[in-house]
């Protein structure tokens, strides 16, 4: 048996002495003492607050480690560490994972977290009727059992070294059978914050959970404001009505120059795509899709956030930072002439109308304008269709009722979406599925990277989507805020270490 010992991940600033000083200062009620709340702006309002049921990253962004916790976590340093599982071990054949769970954990409604609720949570992910957006990660699971009150065993069909990583995903957080049905609007998790208020279209408020099992976070309250408009974002930032923006926008550049804001990094792999409905004519024709790939001027497009951001272009659904990355940027060089030829070959008439569905984000609005221009340059008659996020999730993601859409995929290591049936790309290629099986069965890193490379090439070859660039990941935050989890690859805004220095 190999043992994996939990790494001590307590940041230096959270020792008892500091807590004592904090309390002492608080008792002295120094007038200059730091604030205990935060207000952050987000572009997308999650359609549901249950991250196990939606592909909308915003759900995880708000709830991850705040409301819900998983057995493991990708912490602020980007490391995989234990969370609700204290330790775990893997059998020698790599087919059985035994998790020893924390005993002092309760859900927000007072119910105990134990191996039964953990088993329930994981079974729910892998069940046949699962709606979990990351179910693919858990396909090797054969069975899950609670061997005792606080010991959970997961049995696999094949060894899976990424299981503990998968369990750290926002979609794999622990839920309780009694409250799971209401999690979409009244999330009941085990995290250090609980939902206080959700005013749809406006904001969402979290309050500190006094009964939290772990260290008490600094902030008493956090508010997430949903900023569907650029004008609104500018207004709110200008007047200091929010303390920061999660993820970069066009205004980031402008406000980054203000002395009270600073930019902070995030380690996300946010892949911007012109997603194509591969099942809808004329895009079911590979020549049309390739025409689109040639038509988009990526170098122009990547300036949308301002000159100082210089995002990495991509040629496939894969970040350049990964060792398995294959540079496919020049697979389809910007060439409107070639694009028009391809369209002609495919029999697409000049002036064919196409609707570009854009989500209510900054990049959607301004990127959509640029894309429309490029598409019109090759003969399409483009109609921009701005929709709100709920509509996008429903009609594009779920109903697949769209032609083109500009979207960002923020999940790390999500190449597997191209192997999924019924994914909104409507891409179905057995060749890719075969490659992906090789990826899953890879025995060594070299093998794995090789097959990941093949997978990248395959979707580039099939021009499934137009792969644009990796969004520069910056938060715009008040300069006195510290403790953001900047190195986590999970799209999240974890509050527990955040505090004001003034």
């Amino acid at each position: 048996m190999r043992m994996m010992m939990p790494r001590n991940n307590a940041p230096a600033c959270r020792r008892p002495f500091h807590l004592f000083v904090l309390i002492a200062l608080f008792l002295l009620a120094l007038p200059a003492w730091a604030r205990l709340d935060i207000r952050v702006g987000m572009q997308l309002e999650p359609p549901t607050l249950d991250p196990t049921q939606t592909a909308a990253a915003a759900a995880g962004e708000i709830t991850y480690c705040n409301l819900f916790e998983g057995l493991t976590v990708i912490d602020g340093d980007g490391q995989l560490t234990p969370r609700l599982a204290k330790t775990w071990s893997v059998s020698d054949d790599g087919l059985t994972y035994t998790f020893s769970l924390r005993k002092d954990v309760r859900f927000h409604d007072g119910k105990r977290f134990n191996a039964r609720s953990a088993a329930f949570s994981i079974k729910r992910i892998v069940s046949a009727d699962s709606k979990n957006p990351q179910r693919k990660w858990f396909e090797k699971i054969r069975s899950v059992e609670a061997t005792s009150e606080h010991v959970l065993q997961i049995h696999l069909n094949h060894p899976d070294s990424l299981l503990t990583f998968a369990l750290a995903l926002p979609a794999a957080v622990m839920v309780h059978p009694d409250s799971v049905a209401g999690n979409a609007t009244h999330p009941i998790g085990t995290g250090p914050y609980r939902l206080a208020e959700w005013l749809p279209g406006q904001k969402l408020k979290l309050k500190r959970n006094a009964d939290y099992w772990g260290e008490k976070p600094y902030l008493e309250q956090a508010e997430f404001y949903f900023m569907q408009t650029t004008a609104g974002t500018e207004n709110m930032l200008a007047e200091g009505m929010v303390d920061g923006l999660v993820s970069v926008t066009r205004v980031t550049n402008r406000f980054g120059g203000r002395p009270d804001y600073k930019m902070s990094n995030r380690q996300l792999e946010s892949k911007m795509l012109l997603a194509i409905n591969n099942g809808r004519p004329p895009f079911d024709d590979i020549r049309v899709r390739r025409a689109l790939s040639h038509a988009i001027n990526k170098n122009e497009l990547r300036t949308m956030y301002g000159a100082q951001f210089n995002p990495d272009l991509i040629g496939s659904h894969f970040p350049p930072s990964h060792p398995a990355y294959v540079d496919l940027v020049d697979r389809y060089p910007y060439d409107p002439k070639r694009a028009r030829e391809l369209l002609r070959e495919a029999g697409v008439d000049k002036g064919t109308p196409v609707k570009l569905t854009v989500p209510p984000t900054d990049y959607g609005r301004y990127g959509g304008l640029m894309l429309a221009e490029d598409l019109e340059a090759i003969g399409f008659k483009v109609e921009l269709d701005p929709v709100d996020w709920k509509t996008w999730m429903q009609s594009v993601f779920t109903d697949k009722d769209y032609a083109l859409t500009l979207i960002i995929h923020v999940e790390p290591m999500d190449l597997n979406i191209y192997a999924r049936d019924n994914y909104y790309f409507n891409y179905a290629n057995d060749a890719f599925k075969a490659i992906w099986k090789q990826v899953l069965d890879a025995r060594t890193d070299k093998e794995l990277n090789h097959w990941l490379g093949e997978a990248q090439k395959q979707i580039a070859e099939d021009a499934v989507n137009v792969f644009l660039f990796i969004r520069p990941e910056r938060n715009l935050m008040h300069k006195d805020l510290q403790g953001l989890w900047e190195n986590s690859s999970i799209p999240s805004f974890v509050l527990e270490d955040i505090h004001w220095t003034h």
Partner: protein
Amino acid sequence: MQRRFGAGLTARTVGVTSVIAVVVVGLTLLTARTVGSLHTLVEDMASAEMENLMTSVRLVQQTESLISLGMMLAAAENHTERRTAMVELTDRTTWINKLTKNLLKQDDSRVLVSRVENTQSQLVTNIDLLNRLIRKRIDGEAAPEDMRLIRTLADVNRELAGRLSVLMGYYSASMRSQMVERSNQLNDEIEEHQRNLILLTAVLLLTALATGFTFEMTVVRRIRRIQSAVDADNVEPEQVEQKGQDEIAQLSRTLAGYIRRIREQESKMQRINGELAFLAEHDPLTGLANRRHFYAAADRLIRNSSTPLCVALGDIDHFKEINDRYGHAVGDRVLAEAATRLKSGLRESDILARVGGEEFAAILPMRSRDDCLHLFDQIRQSVAAYRFEPKPGHTLTMTISFGVTFLEDTSVATSEEEAENGLLSQALGAADQALYRAKHLGRNRVVCDQLEPYSYDRTGLTNANDDAKE
């Protein structure tokens, strides 16, 4: 001792303390409430109202920008321009809608709210229509009436945006005046609370002063009065005593009673003391000084006197027989009568004592031996003149014999006590010799130690003596 809580100091202390406590608590509560309500007011102003004001100001700006964006859309010559204008317009209208929704939530005037909402929805519809028409125009498909409609719509949109801007301006103005009103209200309240606070502080101050004054009057002064009355040389319980029912009055009465008892004890003791002293120096039967006193007084006299002194011893003749014959009571009476006559024959300052059963001694300043003899002979006569009927048919008479000595010069002996004593006993011895001789010579006579027995009235003397013997 009975405690009366109605009037006692304890009750008064409790009362005063309660009053002060109530005033202080009231003051604190009032201040807390004041600060609380002011806090709420300021909070309201800072958060809700300030935010509303900001929102309405923002709305004015944003609606104004709609005018130019609408013009941009109407003037678009290609789809990029058109879409750019549309993106901006959609963004603004969405934001404006959100802001107005928040702002109008608090507005009661339905007419105004619906006017704003109508204007907004009309604007959005018009923008949409204009967008479609412009697209047509850019594609070269627009009919002449479309072109006319574009112009009309552009004008209408400008008007609508302008109207919206004006309505928002109205909101902004009313928010501002609301805030000014609030601010005035805040000022008024602060002033009122200030007045109340001053008033209450004055009450507190007065209460404290009154308490101090009352304490001075009811406690300090009275205690000082008691103290000075007790300190006086002549303590009068009436001056210590105070009227009233409180603890100090009770204490003063206790003290006065104590002083009274002390004074009673004192006078009693003085009386007893006097009696004891008298008893120690006097013979209870005759009231004359006793032998001890005589010696002491005689000593003093000898020591202090610069004139000659006469020392005399007298003895009642045949006293034993009177005693035996008539009983002790008669004897005592005879003794007392003799003493009385001796006393009345001498001056008050002369020293006279009963020094034995029927024996008397006297020492007194005299000018001459003759004077001595003469004086004591007069006394002898007055004693002999005494008549008494101890029982019916019996008449008792008595006589007395005196031995007298004369000290010519006492100054020789004044320096030494022993000499004095010697002088006194010498004199007494001489007087005793003389007395003896007087008895021997037939009694009822005065004999001087240096002379022959002498009598001014020999016959009388002899007879009287004989009578006494019978």
